[in-house]
Symmetry: C2
Subunit: 340 residues, 2 copies
DNA sequence: CATTAGCACGTCATTTAATTAAGTGCTAAT
DNA sequence: ATTAGCACTTAATTAAATGACGTGCTAATG
């Protein structure tokens, strides 16, 4: 069964009204807008409810959008919102700053978005499955300290400092790193540690005296690579300003999920079909009370994901508008850089 | 005026009782323990109250320790608690793992402590004022990307990736980094960016074509050095399990302070007199409802700070016991390494 | 046949009052 | 110095009363 025009409008009105006022919407409040009596509205509401687009909290409460209702709204009813002049102003100062590196530009934009929306924003660099080992370097710092530098083909770099184990020399570390560079380049970064154990360890165990300690250094540097770096989360506390979080247990649940990096894993796991994907409630696989809006960027080969987490009762039109704006500006950054 | 033995015991009992039960403690509940009537307890309580060690929430409520009372307790009444076998077990598996680098050992220990106490733990590397520039390196990644590596004398290392601006060559970057290494070594890391502007920029502006872009890269790398890295916070969400945080506004206040890194700044600002310092409530300069316990380590020149944040009603004896245990074990790590 | 007015009903939220529990300060006796 | 006893205060809990909101259904209407 398909919705007629009035029903669509009604659903749209209910969703937007609820997003704005956080209160279940009753039939009477919609009379003027639809130029009919509350009874008529009630009849139409009954239809929408029977189709699963709206729900009641209890027998005599107003209606609230269901997940299906939100989904219908974002798929068919919503129009991305034009940014306000104020918002444009804030974002444009970042895009205009030509001295910023791309990743900084994006991070700063998302911080702004979190600030103006009161939702949580996330920027994820390309994830470890897509990153291939490009280069390992050993940089001596002083007589007994070195830094191991690991770079991937996506340009992600991490370093880790090590105290040289007794009876080892930097020379041997460098020798080992050369070997790694010869044999393991191109390996997905999350598999490198394993190959190190099975392919490199046997070799160095024959050639190098203190191979165990040296192996451990590289294992450590490579194994710990992906762990949490290259991720920017902003506005976790802001999200708590949303009226849905007026319950301490709810807050505790959410905050500890955040702290466990569950969100990041879930976001990485979702594959995207469109330029902007919206996962509402249970669809998010993260928490039934939130919506995750996710978008992917690829500017001159530098890839990453940006996402916004807010209540299901999110200002979808505004968020989508903001993300589209960001995407457009990133695209034009790319074009500019090709011009030069 | 000085407290007599019974008054000290009474204060100790009140503090520990309140820490344990979170409820104001009344005179009757202490009769058996002090082998006297509730009236006597009340008289003594009145004395403690007039001296400012305990307070009432309202005219007929039990007593609660004041900040002054907590302070007296930790200074004169408390004995650090022996760890339970369980706690020793958890921590010892970390200290026994000889493959861990020092900073990882400490971080993991503090994570454990946060888990078993439900307080928030923090590990701070040596702060930027104490870090002096030791070395800047430029590592080419591919034809148009480089990594700038900045090391300090404390062994802190950070990297930042840059896209090469058009019309610049790696050679020029390296030349500039050599210059920085000649002229700015030993500068406090938080002053380097400034000196870069006034001492290096004028020079390269004459020798290098695209000096502006190159200057920006180094400025960026050096300016952003201290920002938040080298810090590990764990258990923010755990802290919310404490019964004092049964109020959403309280939670919001605390979480947004956390997110702004206010805590880290405050902890860095506090100078320590003893091996373990305790800042209660307002003394913390952070939040009147929390206590910060701070301790400093210096193992073979690698320095840092560890701290625990909990409610004023913190299990002081346990926390101090845990931190002492960690300090002792770190000391013996140091001795071991000297033996070798 | 879609729309509407009208009414009985259900649920929640808020207010008010009453009661109970916990604990104090003070006084007078020991 | 200690204690028993009593009057008093406050907070917390419970119960009842009320009002606000909004629904579903029925019967009348154009």
């Amino acid at each position: 069964m398909i919705l007629d025009e009035r029903q669509k409008n009604l659903l749209k009105e209910i969703v937007e009204n609820y997003i704005k006022n956080v209160k279940p919407v009753g039939s009477k409040s919609l009379c003027k807008k639809f130029k009919c009596s509350s009874a008529t509205i009630r009849n139409e509401m009954a239809v929408l409810e029977s189709l699963g687009y709206i729900e009641k909290n209890h027998i005599s409460s107003g209606r609230v959008p269901s997940e299906k209702g939100y989904k219908y709204y974002v798929d068919y009813l919503m129009k991305p919102k034009e940014l306000t002049g104020e918002d444009v102003l804030k974002l444009q100062t970042i895009f205009d700053n030509k001295q910023l590196q791309l990743s900084d530009t994006i991070t700063k934009c998302m911080e702004i978005i979190s600030d103006i929306t009161n939702y949580t924003s996330i920027v994820l660099g390309s994830n470890s499955r897509e990153n291939l080992l490009k280069q390992v370097s050993i940089i001596p710092i002083d007589e007994n300290k070195v830094v191991a530098l690991v770079c991937t083909n996506k340009g992600v770099v991490q370093n880790k400092q090590f105290v040289l184990p007794p009876n080892t020399e930097v020379k041997e570390l460098v020798k080992t790193s050369d070997m790694i560079n010869k044999m393991l380049i191109g390996t997905p970064i999350n598999e490198v540690a394993e190959r190190l154990e099975f392919e490199i360890k046997p070799i160095i165990s024959q050639r190098i005296e203190q191979y165990e300690a040296i192996y451990n250094i590289f294992y450590d540097a490579l194994h710990g690579f992906n762990k949490g770096s290259n991720v920017h989360v902003r506005g976790q506390a802001k999200l708590l300003n949303q009226p849905e979080y007026d319950d301490t247990n709810e807050i505790r649940r959410l905050m500890s999920k955040f702290e466990n990096n569950e969100l990041i894993r879930k976001i990485e796991a979702k594959d995207e079909s469109d330029s902007i994907n919206i996962y509402i409630g249970d669809e998010s696989d993260f928490d039934s009370n939130v919506t995750i809006v996710k978008s992917h960027y690829n500017i001159n080969g530098e890839e990453g994901t940006i996402a916004i987490i807010g209540p299901k009762r999110m200002e979808y039109d505004r968020v989508v508008g903001l993300l589209k704006y960001i995407n457009e500006n990133l695209d034009s950054l790319e074009k500019e850089s090709k011009h030069e």
